[in-house]
Symmetry: C2
């Protein structure tokens, strides 16, 4: 059976070049960068080379990159660390309603600590209106965090415009770029943000490593206390193989980005156009144009999404019904609700996230196997039966 | 030149078997355990198998193991998460003065949040007196954290006795077992603790992974918010290769522990006895018997430790002058100060931490090359000149 992995937003495979770069650090070169001897020196040099590679990917200075253990850690670090470091200035934080759970739940923890949140709405395409950001700002606002692109619906947000507003008001602006860094061009100077999160396993680098870029001069409180690593801002023995892998993945992402985007966009559009022409009652979610090149997200009416995923899996196709972090929570995605999808329709969510190894044949295979699955499930759906009856009655 | 790595407390090399276990998860088997498809299933099974292996190492139930990104994260999670989860009960926390910085600095952060700390002293061997724990407990004490063994001086603490006291008083007891789990027998039921930290890179497993064992029923607040992973207690995509490696390292540590301990103890004693017989004015730090099998720690009088390390490094020998986390901070170790070593003598600290691949020849090589290094450094030391002059004058 054909095996088709279209769940790259959950995690990407390692590129062979990334794995090769990591392997020596799983062997002979195992030192601790903090040690004052040759073993430590080799580890330290590897970490600093990776730091430069990651900095280059996002147009930053190397010394502003802090390595972390994941995109989730980067987001927790940013939201809690930035808010706590400025709490004498105020306790108001602004987010969009479609942040990743690692941002949203970190902000909920801030609420327990006496902070106040403003959650900004998005339009039906998932776009935050910069005017809403401006209106939300108060004297005591210390942090704005808006996701660069949401991995579930793929919509890319107007980060530059928002950054102009936060800069005028002198409020720190964080963006969660976990879905974009390494995938589309991300330049911290062009974007104008102050702090940015990224994660290795989103662009063919390793799991267990992320980074937080913090513009020089921005104050942040550590999330992990206890050591002088990462300039005293993130304690813990550095995960050298993973950091080296992240660096290599960043280098490869930068050098091949244009070709990757072209490839992904073609396949994505093949799917975005192909699926609604083969299946009735399918809604494309997210922005029609301004979306991640590998993201094709839909809601299929009269369907329970999990069954659709299971049946696709039995045909060798791996997809998701939303964020991997919530797929096991079996709740309607907060992102789909925010773009105005009903709870009922959100149950039929299906998210294809394509990768650099995806092929037109993979897409055609999905277009072939999915319609009979949808038919089969609808035949068992009381809601669909009701809909058919009513539409016949209406004629 | 001979290469002798005696800095295993900083980090250990990966065992080849551990690396072999990890490699598939850097390749074909790259899924996200939260995904509802075959790729996710394979990843999830691997994580659960590793969880069982780690649980077996410490006599715990698998569902009580939470994977983290490092020993430092485990300690931050424990100290902050346990204290915050119980703050309505009280805000008093008890630690020893020789905790690892990740415990100590986490507790300093608690102080900023209104908690009060009691730091218990240790005797000249680095031992915490259980009576001091009893005396320190108050009505509002919510957490006691005492390190199982301090990696800098090797002293093993009377955890069982302390646990009897905390249990009587119904206070949660955490132990930082980063230096002991996988090295000496650690059984959570025998120890009687409630929460325990461990780290992979301390027993020939990977960097970038640790675990926190939390006894069922003990409340803890997450440090990393935002996902349902690890039972909702630690968000973030699981670092599968590292988790698999930790599991394998745990299995190997358990099955070979007795032989490892015998080997390490012999080499350690060869060094503990050999060094003072070849160099004058050397003080052994830590407990004479009740210490980690691979730990031989000394202070060499009239010497600046960093120069000693550099010269040893130029002879191919890697050692440390204390915790890797502080070696670049160039401060006298808080652990040595706590056992009553003067700031001056603490400057001459030298820490040998042996590994399972260390050989008698390695030890003999150190015993051969170190004395001339000490002689050379002392000839440049004004303090040594003064001492010699005074002792001659005294005769």
């Amino acid at each position: 059976m054909r095996k088709v992995y279209l769940d790259h937003a959950s995690t990407t495979p390692l590129l062979p070049e990334v794995r090769e770069a990591m392997i020596p650090f799983l062997g002979e070169t195992f030192g601790n960068p903090s040690s004052l001897h040759d073993w430590g020196d080799a580890a330290r040099e590897a970490v600093e080379a990776a730091r430069a590679q990651v900095a280059q990917l996002i147009g930053a200075n190397a010394e502003e990159i802090i390595f972390t253990g994941s995109g989730t850690e980067s987001n927790n670090f940013a939201i809690k660390g930035l808010a706590l470091a400025q709490q004498n200035k105020g306790k108001h934080v602004v987010l969009s309603a479609i942040e990743h759970f690692s941002v949203l739940q970190s902000a909920r923890t801030l609420e327990k600590w006496g902070f106040e949140l403003s959650l900004l709405p998005v339009d039906k395409y998932g776009v935050v209106d910069p005017k809403d950001v401006r209106k939300s700002l108060r004297k005591d606002t210390v942090l704005v965090s808006i996701i660069h692109a949401n991995g579930e619906v793929g919509t890319i947000e107007p980060i530059q415009e928002i950054a102009r507003i936060t800069r005028e008001s002198n409020v720190v602006f964080h963006t969660d770029a976990v879905a974009t860094a390494g995938t589309i061009p991300v330049d911290v100077k062009e974007l104008g943000v102050d702090v940015l999160s990224l994660a290795g396993n989103q662009f063919y680098g390793p799991k267990g490593v992320g980074a937080l870029w913090v513009r020089k001069g921005v104050r942040i409180m550590p999330l992990l206390d206890g050591g002088v690593q990462e300039g005293g801002r993130r304690a813990g023995t550095e995960n050298i193989p993973a950091i080296v892998g992240l660096g290599k993945a960043a280098e490869l992402a930068k050098s091949t980005m244009a070709a990757r985007i072209e490839h992904l966009t073609q396949l994505r559009d093949r799917l975005l156009n192909g699926l609604p022409s083969r299946i009735d009652h399918v809604v494309v979610t997210g922005h029609p144009q301004n979306r991640l090149p590998g993201n094709a997200s839909f809601c299929v009416e009269f369907i329970e999404g999990e069954s659709m995923l299971m049946l696709l899996n039995s045909q060798g196709v791996a997809v998701s019904s939303g964020s991997a972090c919530t797929s096991r929570a079996l709740k309607a995605s907060h992102v789909l609700i925010a773009v105005g999808i009903s709870h009922e329709l959100a149950q039929g969510s299906i998210l294809f996230t394509l990768g650099i190894d995806s092929t037109p044949e993979d897409i055609d295979y999905v277009l072939e196997v999915l319609p009979p699955i949808v038919d089969r499930l609808r035949q068992m759906s009381p809601l669909y039966a009701k809909f058919i009856k009513e539409s016949k009655g209406g004629k």
